[in-house]
């Protein structure tokens, strides 16, 4: 009886070709195996190299990350290239730095490309360019332009990731006791947000061949980037600050990224919602705008919206639980009704309601798209608003 409601989702056009990752041919399976091996070797190498400063939890985090990346990359060449580029350029940057932070100003490569600050500037510029290019491709119906846009997005994501890696190293160059993973304040997580959201989008883009959604999703990333730039110039926020004792924990390394997969997925769902509503307004009309003809079907967007919210919900659940485990260790209780915690619950309940509405009541289309957009504002408040307007235990990332 529960299956009945699924029929609503089932009437999509079958001519829509979805190219899924299949590993049938020998070539891809060989690549996949090389990739897995590479991930395994990287993990082992990292653990061996840093064995004296890693604890058991951190070793498990490395292993799980390697498994996750091996899995992600096995059928996704773009991600493999991205990872290799990030690794190579980060290592170059690290080796130019040596043990001297001052090289950031004297070395050409660091100064103009690879120092975290420069990498983030490139990332910002590339994201904005990608956004414009996606819309250009959409309006002029140009496949080629859209491919360029995808490439720009990959480039932006790669620069962002390189910037994060290099910043990680830079923090250690500032002082061994200052070093920490760059996910500890608002400035750093904004970059994480941009990178994660872009990766999620690229994943679905490849899966569903939906380049025409790119502009919409990148719009939210560009907004984040704009905010980020203001924040950098206005508040000197980019400076690396040492960690307060409560944040010195391996939990941070998993809690924050899991959270941002959630935020990124919710943001993407909302932007698909926007695209959905815009297209929906024009369907059935005698003359539809040129760009609308190029958009994916409403059913596909609806489906994608559901998928991203489900993904976001799953990771947000995980992140909130990890947060509770951490709180139990740092604050003496797994739940304190601290504003940030409470807003995480509010976000979570909101999407739980969304999922039930769709799953069991069969609601679709417009209302759900509106709800997803409202959901983004709720999420945004949990992410930013709480830090800006409310005070509590989580006041690490105050604006």
């Amino acid at each position: 009886m529960f299956l009945g409601s699924k029929h609503a989702t089932a009437h999509y056009e079958t001519n829509m070709s979805t190219q899924l990752s299949t590993l049938d041919s020998d070539k891809t399976s060989l690549t996949a195996w090389i990739w897995r091996l590479l991930m395994a070797l990287s993990a082992v190498g990292l653990i061996a190299f840093y064995s004296d400063i890693l604890d058991g939890y951190e070793v498990s985090i490395i292993i799980l990350t390697a498994i996750g990346m091996a899995w992600l990359g096995q059928g996704w060449p773009g991600y493999r290239w991205h990872t290799v580029a990030v690794a190579v350029f980060s290592l170059i940057a690290v080796s130019i730095y040596g043990s001297e932070l001052g090289r950031a100003d004297t070395s050409f490569w660091l100064n103009y490309l690879l120092a975290s600050q420069s990498a983030f500037m490139w990332m910002s510029a590339l994201f904005v360019m990608a956004t414009v290019t996606y819309f250009g491709g959409l309006i002029f119906h140009s496949e080629f332009t859209e491919k360029v846009a995808s490439f720009l997005t990959w480039a932006a994501t790669t620069m962002g990731m390189i910037g994060l890696m290099v910043r990680w190293r830079e923090s250690y160059l500032l002082g061994a006791d200052i070093g920490h993973i760059p996910v500890s304040n608002l400035y750093e997580v904004f970059i994480l947000f941009a990178v994660v959201t872009a990766l999620l989008y690229l994943f679905y883009e490849r899966r569903y061949q939906t380049r025409s959604l790119g502009g919409f999703v990148l719009l939210v990333i560009s907004a984040a980037v704009a905010f980020q730039l203001w924040y950098t110039f206005d508040r000197q926020a980019h400076e690396i600050e040492p960690l307060v004792p409560a944040l010195q924990s391996y939990w941070m390394k998993i809690h924050v990224p899991a959270n941002f997969i959630g935020y990124g997925a919710f943001a993407m769902a909302a932007m698909i919602g926007v695209a959905y509503l815009l297209v929906d307004r024009q369907t059935g009309k005698a003359s539809v705008s040129r760009w609308v003809q190029k958009m994916p079907s409403l059913a596909l967007m609806d489906d994608l919206m559901y998928k991203t919210i489900a993904l976001g919900f799953a990771f947000f659940t995980l992140a909130t639980i990890l947060g509770a485990l951490w709180a139990a260790e740092a604050w003496g209780g797994y739940w304190s009704w601290d504003p940030k915690e409470t807003w995480a619950l509010i976000v979570w309940l909101n999407y739980a309601a969304w999922l039930h509405m769709r799953m069991t009541k069969g609601w679709h289309g417009g209302p759900m798209a509106w709800w997803a957009i409202v959901g983004l504002f709720v999420t945004l408040f949990a992410f930013l608003g709480v830090n800006m307007f409310l005070s509590g235990l989580h006041s690490y990332g105050t604006l």
Partner: protein, 669 residues
């Protein structure tokens, strides 16, 4: 779903209808949203603040309304718990109603499908294959099994049905997810302070709102050692011990006895160069009669100690009553020697300074102060200003000023000053008094100067000296009227300056001099005042006849005059200077016992497993109906999934082609 059943069977009992209403999706969604909205309240209104703060914020009327609504502690208000309970009830009903069919769905291979219905499924295909019916049946079964399907062969007359399913655990995902909500809430309830609230309603407990020493806290506010959950805190100075925790409750607290004693041997804190704390930790010793020997362990933030189910966390730190030796330098007339005073942080005592009675409340001590000190090169530069004390001076009327005095002089523009900050309320910034330090780095030089200004004889002496010089220069030595008036004016000027600073002198000039002469006389008056101040200062220096005044002494004079000029606004009759200290730190421990914690964690594990199973393990079913068609076997294949229909298109094709492929061996690997 259930609604359609309701329509068919309208004559159900009331209880049945309530049960169905509680388990209905509408009700569940309403509760989810209601809970979300209700949760907002406690994030906008700061919870568990001191009640007087709320009164100030809302006024007495709304304060009471909000208190009645429980808004100061929303998350344990009855109505909030009621919403939570309804959500749990709704989920429970939902789970009870759906679990049987979910289980069935999980294991049932649906062997009773009709041949006809397979062909009408959205995903279906058929083909012919050589070979016997039973060979083909086995082949298809094996190939599906090799793809991870559970399979079963059913004989349908002389035809065969292979039913296959994978991802049945998806349905377990539903059960786990929803059971998790119940389990987490039950665990949360086990750790809540509901039992304390009930005890309070029954009158067995009373919240203590006064600030009492432990020994005087009445029995009604103390909780015996027991299995109950609690979360409290206690602050223990180094070298001391405690065996209780304080539980904050609304506008007061309760005291929870512990079955052991915690001694703090040492507290350590490290700082970053910016002065932010980098790490802090405490060496604890647990004395427990159940232990063979005392348990010694160091705890730090993120690294608690767990003993007998009690978790002890490093939560904060503070002053543990540092011992201070303070000199109270009089700023009033008649005394120039400091009064020495031994006190401690958090100590309150009555003082009599001159004719003013005041209560001194020492509120804090800091062994160092890293403060911003921007330079041209480095706008973010910081500097250590050394130790400081914080205290309040309270008048009989109850008003208090808050002070912050630094122990050592701080350099500014090449000169050393002793700093004292003062403010009327915590919301204000400190305004600083800069007292010039003498060559020994103390305030003594300044106090001597001030004392001389207060001393009528020395003022009179200098005034007389200046009067005489003036009369000589005017060549009217005999004019006693002029002389007396000059002498009086000079003395009054000085008295006004010492009493009210430059402000009062200026007011006097404005008010008492005729407007026509003000232009010329005002600068003359001020010059005379300065001359007098200078002479008094130089007299005190005991300079030999020949010696000249040094640059440093001139600057000191200038700074001292400025300081005297601002003293009237300082608000304290003395300057307290810290002479010596013995820093005693105290560690802030959070102590918790949460018997429901593991229950909650179990629920969390269920939730994660459940959600991922639900979303990422689609349940997929295939049926192959094999029938004889001449020499060949006809195969009707159908498939369905409960999620991701889009991916299933490809999946169906993949399975279809694998089953179809004529090479018999390819499926085996």
């Amino acid at each position: 779903m259930s609604q359609s059943k309701d329509a068919q069977l309208p004559h159900r009992s009331f209880a049945w209808r309530v049960f169905h209403f509680l388990g209905s999706m509408e009700f569940a969604i309403t509760m989810l949203i209601t809970l979300a909205i209700a949760s907002v309240i406690g994030t906008v209104l700061q919870q568990n603040q001191p009640y007087p703060d709320y009164v100030i914020k809302f006024g007495p009327y709304w304060f009471e309304v909000f208190e009645a609504l429980g808004l100061y502690d929303v998350y344990s208000a009855l109505w909030f718990l009621a919403i939570l309970t309804l959500l749990v009830v709704s989920t429970t009903v939902c789970v009870i109603r759906h679990t049987p069919s979910m289980f069935k769905d999980m294991f049932n291979l649906r062997t009773n499908v009709q041949h006809k219905s397979l062909r009408s499924m959205h995903h279906h295909a058929h083909w012919h294959q050589p070979g016997t019916l039973s060979d083909n049946t086995n082949l298809i079964r094996d190939r599906l099994a090799s793809q991870g399907f559970r399979t079963r062969i059913t004989e349908k007359g002389d035809e065969r049905l292979v039913s296959a399913m994978r991802g049945g655990m998806n349905r377990l995902g539903y059960i786990l997810t929803h059971v998790a909500i119940i389990v987490i809430c039950v665990g949360g309830l086990m750790d809540s302070n509901l039992p304390l609230k009930i005890a309070e309603w029954q009158g067995r407990l009373e919240i203590e709102t006064r600030n009492l020493p432990l020994s005087q806290i009445p029995k009604e506010s103390r909780l015996a050692v027991g299995p109950q959950a609690f979360r409290g805190s206690v602050s223990i100075p180094e070298g001391r011990a405690a065996s209780v925790a304080y539980l904050p409750m609304r506008d007061g607290y309760l005291v929870q006895n512990l079955p052991f004693t915690i001694e703090v041997k040492e507290f350590r804190i490290e700082h970053y160069p910016t002065g932010q704390p980098k790490s802090f930790e405490s060496d604890l010793v647990i004395y427990d009669t159940d232990l063979e020997k005392p348990l010694e362990q160091t705890i730090a933030v993120n690294h608690p100690l767990i003993h007998k189910g009690y978790a002890i966390y490093q939560a904060s730190f503070g002053d543990g009553g540092s011992e201070l030796t303070i000199n109270a330098w009089p700023l009033f007339a008649g005394q120039s020697e400091p009064a020495e005073l031994e006190t401690k942080v958090f100590e309150t005592r009555q003082m009599l300074w001159g004719d003013r009675e005041m209560q001194l409340e020492v509120t804090g001590f800091r062994p160092f102060n890293i403060n911003p000190d921007p330079t041209e090169d480095d706008p973010k530069n910081v500097r250590n200003f050394g130790p400081s004390i914080q205290f309040k001076l309270r008048r009989e009327t109850g008003e208090a000023l808050e002070f912050e005095n630094y122990m050592y002089p701080v350099e500014r523009d090449g000169r050393d000053f002793l700093l004292s900050g003062v403010r009327g309320s915590p919301s204000e910034e400190f305004a600083y008094l800069y007292l010039p330090a003498d060559e020994h780095g103390t305030v003594e030089g300044f106090i001597q100067f001030l004392h001389a200004l207060h001393d009528d004889d020395s003022v009179a002496e200098v005034a007389a000296e200046m009067k005489d010089e003036t009369l000589v220069s005017l060549q009217s030595e005999q004019d006693s009227v002029l002389g007396d008036s000059l002498q009086r004016t000079l003395e009054t000027l000085m008295a006004m300056f010492v009493r009210g600073g430059f402000d009062e002198v200026r007011d006097f000039i404005e008010q008492s001099l005729p407007e026509a002469e003000r232009e010329t006389l005002a600068p003359a008056y001020l010059a005379m005042l300065r001359e007098m101040l200078g002479r008094i200062y130089f007299n005190s220096l005991d300079l030999g006849a020949e010696a000249t005044v040094s640059e440093a002494q001139l600057l000191f004079l200038q700074d001292a005059i400025d300081a005297v000029g601002t003293l009237p606004r300082y608000g304290s009759p003395v300057y307290l200077s810290l002479v010596d200290y013995n820093h005693i730190e105290s560690t802030g421990l959070q102590i918790a016992r949460s018997p429901g914690k593991n229950v909650v964690y179990l629920g969390c594990a269920f939730l994660i497993a459940g959600v991922f199973l639900l979303f990422y393990l689609p349940q997929r079913r295939f049926w192959a109906w094999l029938s004889r068609d001449g020499e060949q076997t006809r195969i009707d294949l159908a498939g369905m999934t409960n999620r991701n229909p889009r991916e299933f298109d490809d999946y169906f094709e993949k399975i279809h082609s694998q089953l179809h492929s004529s090479e018999r061996n390819s499926a085996a690997d």
